[in-house]
């Protein structure tokens, strides 16, 4: 007798534990809970629905295989899962550049023209907490560079091309932005 409805009520880490011990209903609930996030990140990075579908499947397969090695001290389950997605997507992109990056993919997350109200580029603070607030506080060029390098999985060279700036400038924006965020988060904790 199974109770997928009850599984649906579990916190993320307990659901992952259920996945780790081989409960098939847990797998279905787990996929259902995270598939939009996983697929959303995959398609953002690779820009190809078919390839993103494959990467999202691989993400869940890998999560299932490695559920027992999840360490809650390192990251939340969602972050852990999205890190798997990112790594797989970046690996895939090294082999196959599926499509040129479309800045519109990130929508309001990454305003594509100058003079845009920075508030329009605000990410969901509920999802990122303090980090989201600090991200919004970054200068727009740094915020764009950091989000392109993280959410969109772009290399510094690609960020430079997308933004129309020298490679050194792109690297500096990524580097400075990440360090500011790191410092802000550490001060807050």
């Amino acid at each position: 007798m199974r109770h997928p409805a009850r599984l649906d009520r579990l916190p993320d880490d307990a659901l992952l534990a259920a996945l780790a011990v081989g409960e098939r209903d847990a797998a279905a609930v787990f996929v259902r809970r995270f598939q939009r996030r996983v697929f959303g990140l995959a398609v953002t990075i690779v820009g190809d629905v078919g390839l993103a579908d494959d990467i999202a499947q691989m993400t869940f397969e890998r999560a299932w295989r490695h559920a027992g090695s999840y360490d809650p001290r390192r990251a939340g389950v969602t972050t852990w899962l999205l890190t798997i997605t990112r790594n797989l997507a970046i690996d895939a992109m090294r082999v196959r550049r599926a499509a040129p990056f479309d800045p519109a993919t990130l929508g309001a997350l990454l305003p594509v023209s100058g003079g845009v109200d920075p508030q329009q580029a605000a990410v969901d603070a509920d999802q990122l907490g303090r980090l989201g607030e600090e991200l919004d506080a970054l200068p727009l060029d740094q915020r764009r560079a950091v989000l392109l390098a993280t959410v969109a999985g772009r290399t510094a060279l690609e960020v430079a091309t997308i933004e129309g700036v020298p490679l050194g400038t792109a690297k500096t924006r990524i580097r400075t932005g990440l360090r500011r965020l790191r410092a802000a988060v550490e001060v807050a904790t």
């Binding site: 916190p11 996929v31 996030r37 990140l41 499947q57 299932w64 990251a75 990410v123 999802q127 990440l178």
Partner: protein, 208 residues
């Protein structure tokens, strides 16, 4: 690799962009250098958390079925032994620098025992597992328990009992719970579950 060289590459490493063999070289340096390790952990933590900002999109039709097929059927010996899962999970691992991927396919040494209530009725199973790090996994499939705190204790070979963790029972009847344990407790001879008032609710004998 020295610290200056590491810091030139640490952003790419934190972003998952550094390719082999430079990735392994950089990670090896971080393993032996506390300050670089801290820098990587900080930047990597930020880069990873920012992934939460990605848009959420509905995958193509049939995705769930394809993903489940790829994940394959669960291990037969575990299937159906319990019905649902609940409770906090705290698998405390040793301070590892490398990612979860470094534990690929490691075979797990497992010692299992049946959990029996005071009336000798089987209510679940417990496993002592050595990988990825030593932990105890308690799986309960039982009628709705009374609310309160449950403490898991393991018995050393000398007969002494060691509490290894506890969980709160809420309104969910059955569950799975795990906690990291000291390596020497992988040789535990028994496990027991104790209620708030000290009542032993269930036991498991690893030697039987």
């Amino acid at each position: 690799m020295n610290c200056d060289e590491f810091q030139e590459q640490v952003d790419d490493l934190a972003l998952g962009q550094l390719e082999e063999p430079r990735r392994s070289t950089a990670l090896a340096h971080a393993t032996g250098c506390q300050s670089c390790q801290t820098l990587l952990a900080g930047l990597g933590g930020v880069a990873d958390r920012l992934l939460l900002a990605a848009p959420q999109l509905e995958p193509p039709a049939g995705f769930e079925s394809r993903a489940l097929a790829r994940m394959g059927a669960p291990t037969a010996s575990r299937t159906g032994r319990w019905v649902t899962a609940v409770a906090a999970v705290l698998i405390v691992t040793a301070g590892a620098v490398l990612w979860w991927a470094s534990n690929d396919d490691a075979a797990s040494d497992v010692v299992a025992a049946r959990i029996e209530a005071a009336d000798d009725v089987a209510i679940g199973a417990v496993e002592l597992r050595s990988t990825p790090t030593p932990h105890v996994l308690v799986m309960i499939d039982a009628p709705r328990p009374d609310p309160g705190t449950r403490t898991c204790e393991l018995q050393r070979e000398d007969g002494t009992w060691v509490p290894v963790g506890s969980w709160e029972v809420d309104d969910i009847a059955a569950g799975v719970w795990a906690v990291g344990i000291a390596p020497e407790l992988l040789d535990a001879t028994a496990m027991r579950i104790v209620a708030d008032d000290g009542t032993v609710l269930a036991t498991a004998d690893f030697s039987s």
